[in-house]
């Protein structure tokens, strides 16, 4: 057995090289965008590992589902049917309102509202770095998604895509400390910015002046400014306002509307495309 003696490269030198390479990586990662070819390739390399780590959970899920009783499935079916009926009724109204809205906009000479193509993605239950809020989903460049696209669930905004690989990508949640979302208050159209503070059920509003008209229970929706998030998706509900005059700004906290701690199915909103106005 050959020991440490008589080796070609000393340990200290190896450590130095490793540390220097890591620092180069850290700096490179920090100051380049994530959509580069190198990053996509690297993310693609680990995709199989992520899928493999998800297998036990999937098996458990399949097992649990096949043990559902017939009665329970029938009940669930009933509830979903009722819900679908209600929603399809609303949808009929929606088509009519959409048409009316487009006509009114045409009368006003305003630009038509934009629609998006959507994709449904499933969350892979894989552990993530505990200092970030992010989840892995089973869609990648092969499905045509790209970095920066907005992600919502059935209730509201979830976050945006980062680290896109060929078959997997990561969703940065809006509660992450590095994430900010441009929003406006649904009630009076005042726009502001919501920032994540690293808590899964709380976000903070940045730079709110003391005199601003904001109340507990106000709904915040995406404002579409910055053109990253499409306009009008619910983001959070204001839960706490602290108007301490000693501070330069009021402290306003809000609770995300999307259920960020139990997301399973997500919708990726595609690139904006102008809606054809004469749609039936």
């Amino acid at each position: 057995m050959n020991l440490l003696f008589g080796r070609s490269i000393s340990l200290q030198l190896r450590l130095t090289v490793a540390v220097v390479l890591s620092i180069v990586l850290i700096i490179g990662d920090r100051y380049t965008s994530g959509g580069t070819f190198v990053r996509t390739t690297l993310n693609t390399l680990v995709s199989p590992v992520l899928y493999a780590a998800n297998i036990p959970y999937e098996l458990f899920n399949v097992g649990a589902q096949s043990l559902h009783t017939r009665d329970r499935l029938l009940d669930e079916n009933e509830v979903l049917r009722a819900k679908q009926l209600l929603q399809s009724e609303q949808l009929q109204q929606y088509q009519f309102l959409l048409k009316e809205n487009n006509e009114l906009r045409a009368l006003l000479g305003a630009s038509a509202r934009q629609s998006h193509n959507r994709q449904i993605a499933q969350v892979l239950s894989v552990r993530s770095n505990r200092y970030n809020h992010q989840v892995v989903i089973n869609k990648g460049t092969i499905d045509g998604v790209s970095e920066g696209q907005a992600v919502i669930d059935e209730l509201g905004l979830v976050g945006q895509l980062t680290h896109v690989g060929t078959t997997t990508s990561r969703v940065l949640l809006m509660t992450d400390t590095t994430h900010a979302t441009p929003v406006r208050i649904l009630r009076n159209d005042v726009s502001m910015v919501v920032e994540g503070i690293g808590k899964i059920n709380l976000v903070q509003l940045a730079h709110v002046s003391h005199s601003l008209d904001i109340r507990i229970g106000d709904i915040l929706v995406t404002s579409g400014l910055g053109s990253r998030f499409p306009e009008g998706y619910p983001v959070a509900v204001v839960t706490e306002i602290d108007r301490d005059e000693g501070l330069p700004f009021a402290k306003v906290y809000a609770e995300p509307i999307a259920q960020l701690d139990r997301i399973r199915l997500l919708v990726i909103l595609g690139e904006n495309s102008i809606e054809v106005s004469d749609e039936p």
């Binding site: 057995m1 440490l4 620092i23 990586l25 239950s125 552990r127 400390t177």
Partner: protein, 158 residues
């Protein structure tokens, strides 16, 4: 040679899967660092084979798999494995529990380094709960050690 390489790779791969597998939300903060523990075992048992190169590459894979800023795990793994490799002869002579204690210290160092780097990049604050995995890892060490020793002897990995 390539045979033992593939055996070591297999054990590290299994550790990687265990490190990524979903756990109940309440157990998540206590998950030990399987990959680092396995790497530490190999670096003490076969220091001429598994050392800083392995640590760096595995750390990079870990970074990509958990989505942390690239380079953080490679840096911290390299430092920890440097410590174990440069002291492998001393470490081998300690009893299992003494070894576990030292490994616990190295794990704590790993977590502090990682916190510090992340603090620098992500603006987070220290929470003593970040050190739970070091304690749990310390308690896991004797079993990992015995299991991997059996694995190594059975397949005559050298």
């Amino acid at each position: 040679m390539s045979r033992s390489f593939s055996f070591i790779t297999f054990s590290v791969f299994l550790a990687l899967i265990m490190a990524l597998m979903p756990l109940p939300f309440s157990l998540e903060p206590f998950r030990p660092d399987w990959v680092l523990l396995v790497l530490m075992y190999w670096s003490i048992a076969l220091p001429h084979r598994v050392n800083i190169g392995w640590a760096w590459c595995t750390g990079l894979i870990m970074d990509l798999a958990v989505g942390s800023p690239l380079g953080i795990n490679s840096l911290t793994y390299s430092v920890c494995i440097y410590i174990t490799v440069s002291n492998f002869q001393k470490l081998r002579n300690f009893s299992l529990w003494q070894q576990a204690m030292l490994i616990g210290l190295f794990l704590a160092l790993y977590h502090l380094l990682q916190f510090w780097l992340n603090h620098f990049l992500l603006d987070i604050y220290f929470n003593p709960a970040y050190l739970w995995p070091a304690l749990i890892g310390m308690l896991c060490w004797p079993w990992i050690f015995l299991l991997l020793r059996k694995y190594r002897r059975h397949f005559r990995i050298r």
